[in-house]
């Protein structure tokens, strides 16, 4: 579904991604792990078009999307969340999800003008359904900036699903959460996000990774050092060294 071939991203002399080869198969939940600064978020940013890769090719569902601008990649069906939670703070919970559906609206400018969040229209119902799934319906009219952290994380994931993308990247969906909240997020990923779509999860919390991922890929210093089933990878010597060989506090 998504294929990276020798993808490189250099910031000056630093190779944040060093010739990464990676295939994401349709329907899987891939865990992307690695110590801080290993290039996980850079990989996500490169795939979603925040910046173009310095080298290599990226293709998605057969289309070469190397160097495309972010909005085109998003429209093609790759959605994402952000490690440091990015919401539209002055919009309500409902508006945050609703506004992000605009690429589903046809008819260009006039279509956008005609589209209103009325109770009856299908888009509104779709937003409410998603909010319900994520336990956010009661906070529908709350401004996003007034939500507590776990709810903001859930809102980000809910928003990523609003256009029904075939591929979703979750960047530390349980960052800063308590174990109980993390468990809740793992359940949501397992029950709501993963069915019917492909999912890539970047996370430090092994409870979440081991619980939801069908496969794991490990990055260290911008290189892929291991890949495989969760049980095998987490037992791998190189992985243990990368994680345990130095101080690695989760950056929550």
């Amino acid at each position: 579904m998504l294929a990276l071939k020798k993808v490189e991203k250099r910031f000056g002399a630093l190779a944040a991604l060093d010739r990464i080869d990676l295939e994401v198969a349709a329907g899987e939940v891939l865990g992307l792990i690695g110590p801080n600064g290993s290039g996980k978020t850079t990989l996500l940013n490169t795939v979603t078009g925040v910046y173009p890769p310095s080298g290599g090719r990226i293709s998605f569902q057969g289309a070469d999307i190397t160097g495309w601008r972010g909005h085109r990649i998003a429209r093609l069906g790759i959605a994402r969340t952000f490690q440091n939670i990015r919401l539209f703070p002055a919009m309500t919970v409902f508006q945050n999800v609703w506004a992000s559906q605009h690429s589903r609206v046809s008819g260009g400018l006039l279509g956008l003008l005609r589209s209103r969040p009325t109770r009856r229209c299908a888009d509104t119902r779709r937003v409410d359904e998603i909010l319900e799934l994520f336990g956010l319906l009661k906070d529908r009219e709350v401004l996003a900036k007034n939500l507590p952290l776990p709810a903001r994380r859930r809102l980000e994931v809910a928003r990523a699903l609003t256009t029904d993308p075939p591929l979703v990247f979750l960047d530390e969906p349980a960052g800063g959460m308590t174990p109980a909240e993390t468990e809740d997020m793992a359940r949501l990923i397992h029950e709501v996000v993963a069915p019917n779509r492909t999912c890539v999860v970047i996370e430090h919390k092994m409870a979440l990774i081991a619980g939801v991922c069908t496969r794991i890929c490990v990055l260290d210093f911008g290189r892929k050092i291991a890949e495989g089933l969760p049980g095998d990878v987490l037992a791998d010597a190189k992985v243990r060294e990368a994680y345990l060989g130095r101080d690695d506090a989760p950056d929550a």
């Binding site: 925040v50 909005h71 919009m91 605009h102 690429s103 400018l109 003008l113 401004l143 928003r159």
Partner: protein, 302 residues
């Protein structure tokens, strides 16, 4: 109403256009110090249309607004790579450039045995549409407020629609908007063009109300005021900048008796307001709360 009151009210109306123009860009997160240029260019273009080429007033307003919109989009496309402070400086530079060009432009045509047209630093005299048609100040004021109402209604409709959310997405977080599939470049140019058109309508009216325009009027102070209206009145709704204009012009007129001190008092007031209400009186949060109150009342009634 006496002429003084009508003139003040008309000025409030015409200035409101430039306030709404700057407001639209503030929504998309851009601080433009150059909206006065579109006001001024349109004043010249519309004046030329009616005084030099005998077009009717509606055509003059249309010519002025379209010219302003097109130029704004070209400038917008050129400054697209710039954001924040750099965009502001570029808009300021363009506006000053436009003003300096108007200072040297001299194109005159003979109309009824008289030379009419822009005369460089002497300005553009003889935009006498109002006198030729015997239009009273009151009637012209109604025209101003009619067009202003139309503009406000359009902006309110935009804000209620998905397009309004799109503009606020741009203003809130550019990268996030792009990641939601929004072509930020296209909508930014669109917003810049629409803001140019709105300023242009005001400029076209201004030229015909005063019958005379000069480049000096469209200096950077007008642009700074245009920004201040939105920032004082609030960025939560299109009524915000209108409240800003009413406070600015009304307050300054009301404290005329303290003469030279009034700008000092006013400046201090603006500074205090911006410290305590950084997004204006009617900011997003207050508008949201007001809406909640209204919808609850409607529910209670139903």
């Amino acid at each position: 109403m006496d002429d003084y009151v009508i003139t003040v009210l008309s000025n409030i109306g015409m200035i409101s256009f430039i306030a709404l123009s700057a407001y639209l860009l503030l929504l998309t997160g851009e601080i433009s110090f150059g909206q006065q240029a579109y006001f001024g260019l349109s004043a010249y273009a519309a004046g030329a249309a009616t005084a030099m080429f005998q077009m009717p007033i509606w055509a003059g307003i249309l010519v002025g607004a379209c010219a302003a919109g097109i130029i704004a989009m070209v400038v917008g496309a050129l400054t697209l790579q710039l954001s924040g402070l750099y965009f502001s400086v570029a808009t300021l530079a363009f506006a000053e450039m436009a003003r300096l060009i108007l200072l040297i432009v001299e194109i005159q045509v003979e109309v009824d045995g008289e030379m009419v047209g822009p005369e460089g630093a002497n300005g553009f005299h003889g935009i006498r549409w109002m006198f030729e048609r015997d239009i009273s100040l009151t009637e012209f004021m109604l025209l101003i407020y009619g067009l202003l109402a139309l503009t406000v209604i359009c902006l309110l409709l935009v804000e209620r629609s998905r397009l309004g959310s799109v503009l606020r997405m741009l203003g809130s977080d550019d990268l996030l908007a792009e990641m939601q599939g929004l072509n930020t470049v296209r909508y930014r140019i669109l917003a810049v063009g629409a803001a140019g058109v709105i300023a242009g309508v005001g400029g076209a009216l201004y030229a015909h109300f005063t019958t005379y325009v000069e480049p000096q009027f469209f200096n950077v102070m007008l642009g700074v005021h245009a920004l201040a209206y939105g920032l004082i009145g609030g960025l939560g709704t299109a009524f915000g900048p209108l409240i800003g204009v009413a406070i600015d012009v009304g307050f300054l007129e009301a404290i005329r008796f303290i003469q030279g001190y009034r700008m000092i008092v006013f400046g201090g007031l603006v500074a205090i307001l911006l410290i305590f209400m950084p997004r204006g009186i009617l900011d997003e949060e207050r508008v949201h709360r007001l809406k909640a109150v209204f919808s609850r009342r409607n529910h209670a009634r139903a």
